[in-house]
Every structure is written in structure tokens, then in C-alpha cells.
Amino acid sequence: HTHTYIQTDMKLKQLESELQEVAAFTSPKILLEQYPTTPHIAACMLFAMETQFNDVAGKAVADLGVGCGILTVAAAMMGSHYNMGFDIDLDALEIARGNFEEAEIDVDLIQCNLADPLPVQPKSFDTVVMNPPFGTKKNAGIDVLFLERALQLANTAVYSLHKTSTRKFIAKKAKEFGVSMQVVAELKFNIPAMYKFHKHKSVDVEVDFLRFSWD
């Protein structure tokens, strides 16, 4: 058992170190809540999605609010066969594309507004992964809107990050959407002081890594 654990631990570390290469936003946009997902969190997420649930390797995976693309790079490294990333912001999509070229992975990118109805046939993907805006700025409710869109797209499971403080509310929404919700992990999301209104150097936010599915 120890041996397996060490091997697993090494694979996760390797994934995280490869994700260090992925470039982040050059000039993040406050209204879009563009906080980059760290290599550590992206690695933990995709590693768990594959090793605990077999939801990545060989699958079609969509990334809503793809941003710089780190979750999709991690998905491809865990063996996803087809990836599509959605974002409203062309600047982010261009950074993402650069990251995908660097990592030598093929990803379809779509520029669209995820607050609108999705321009995609329902249930086109196996798995959806996302780090949605937390909806704490001027866009309250956007996190639940992303979740609703993601559930339309996925056949098997949706993986998402939500503030731990909203867990009860998200659980209620999951029930309304007819899916079960599982807390895969509790994470600390370090949000660096990227924006002028942040008084502190950085702030830790407690975040739930959630899995939604129909089982």
C-alpha cells in the first residue's frame, strides 16, 4: 500500500510541476472575476476526477470559463481525448491557446457569453470541469448559472469550485436541478492581491471542490 501511495503521490507532483508552465492572465479583468486557478488546485482536481471517478481518460471534456486553460491542460495530461473551452473574453482565449500550443494539446475554443443560452447541443460532453466566477462582485448568481449550463452539457459529471460558505445554497440548487452533489475536497484558494481594491497582500478563501452527477 505504501508503495502505491508513493507512486500516486509522485504522479500528482509531476502533474502539478508540469502545470507550473501554464501562463496566467497578463491583465486580469475584475468584472469577469479572472482569478487564475493555481497549478496545485488544477492538479488536485483533475487527478481526483480521474483516479477516483474515471471521468477524464478517453472522455470528451468541456471547460466553462476556460480562462488561461489550466484545467483543460490538466485534463489533457490526465488523458482526455477531446477538449472544448468556452470563454467570453478573447484575450483569455488567446492566452489559453498559447498555453495549449506550448503543452502540445489540441483544444477547440469557443467565444461566447455563458450567461446566454448555450450554443451547444445538450449532453455533448462526458464531463464538464470549471472554476466559475464566485459571483461575489456585480454578478451575483453567475456561479449557479454556470452550474446550470454545465449540467446541460455533461452526460456523466460536472466538477466545480464554489465558496464553502455557499455550500448549503449550492446543495439546494443541486437538488432543484435533480443531481446529487458530493464534496470531493475542501481547498484553500489563495487569491493574490491582483486588483487595486484588495487591501491585503492576498487572501485565503475556503472553497469546495464539488462533483455533481445523476447517480
Partner: protein, 123 residues
């Protein structure tokens, strides 16, 4: 944008009842090599609209890449799976245009990325 994506995309213009499939016009297309997985194609087949793939291949001047219908033995038919793989995953639309079949709103594909923002949202 791959033809697998074209098969998935649909027009979301307000008031449009039948926005699928989007019409595709191609100005520049790249061919690339993607690792073949018959298992993946078999997984995707039930979600695909095969006649839409057949038609769009005609529209972009690449007819006859795939048979008109999915053969009954698709999952064991390596020739078919390889042809489907090539059509769906190896033709990359770099520049062109998607068009809503009902409202005829046009959406440009630039450097491989379709801009599906509704016109009032486009700059």
C-alpha cells in the same frame, strides 16, 4: 474548430426555433494528425448527428470522406472508425463563418476560434 465541434454547436439567437445545424463556410482549413481512438469515436457516435457531418463535408468541398450512413457494425469496423476520426478530429477550420440557419446571423471563425457572441455583444 473541428467538425466534431460543428456537430455540437447550435445557434442560440433569441427567438430562433431551429438553429441546428449551423451553416459553415470555410476560407482556410488545416489538416492535422490526432491520435486515433476507435473507442472514443464509438463513445461519441450516439451523440452525433451523422447526416449533419455528411452534409457539412459536402458543403466544405470534402465529400466522400465518410459513408452516408453509420454502418451497423460501426464499433468493430476499423475502416469506418478511422474515416470518422479523420472527418471529426483532423480537419481544423482556421478561418470561415458559421451562420444561423433561421435568423441568418453570421458568426466569424478567426484563427480557429468561432465568435458566438450575439451581435449586440460583439464589439
Amino acid at each position: 474548430m473541428l467538425l466534431l465541434a460543428h456537430n455540437m454547436l447550435t445557434s442560440h439567437v433569441k427567438g430562433v426555433k431551429n438553429g441546428y445545424p449551423m451553416l459553415l463556410k470555410v476560407n482556410e482549413i488545416d489538416e492535422k494528425e490526432i491520435e486515433f481512438s476507435g473507442e472514443f469515436i464509438t463513445r461519441m457516435l450516439p451523440r452525433l448527428q451523422w447526416p449533419v457531418l455528411v452534409q457539412v463535408l459536402k458543403d466544405i468541398g470534402k465529400p466522400d470522406l465518410v459513408p452516408a450512413e453509420v454502418p451497423e457494425d460501426a464499433a468493430d469496423n476499423e475502416d469506418f472508425l478511422k474515416a470518422a476520426h479523420h472527418a471529426l478530429l483532423e480537419l481544423d477550420i482556421i478561418n470561415g463563418e458559421l451562420e444561423c440557419p433561421e435568423s441568418h446571423m453570421k458568426f466569424p471563425i478567426t484563427d480557429g476560434i468561432p465568435n458566438l457572441l450575439i451581435k449586440e455583444e460583439q464589439e
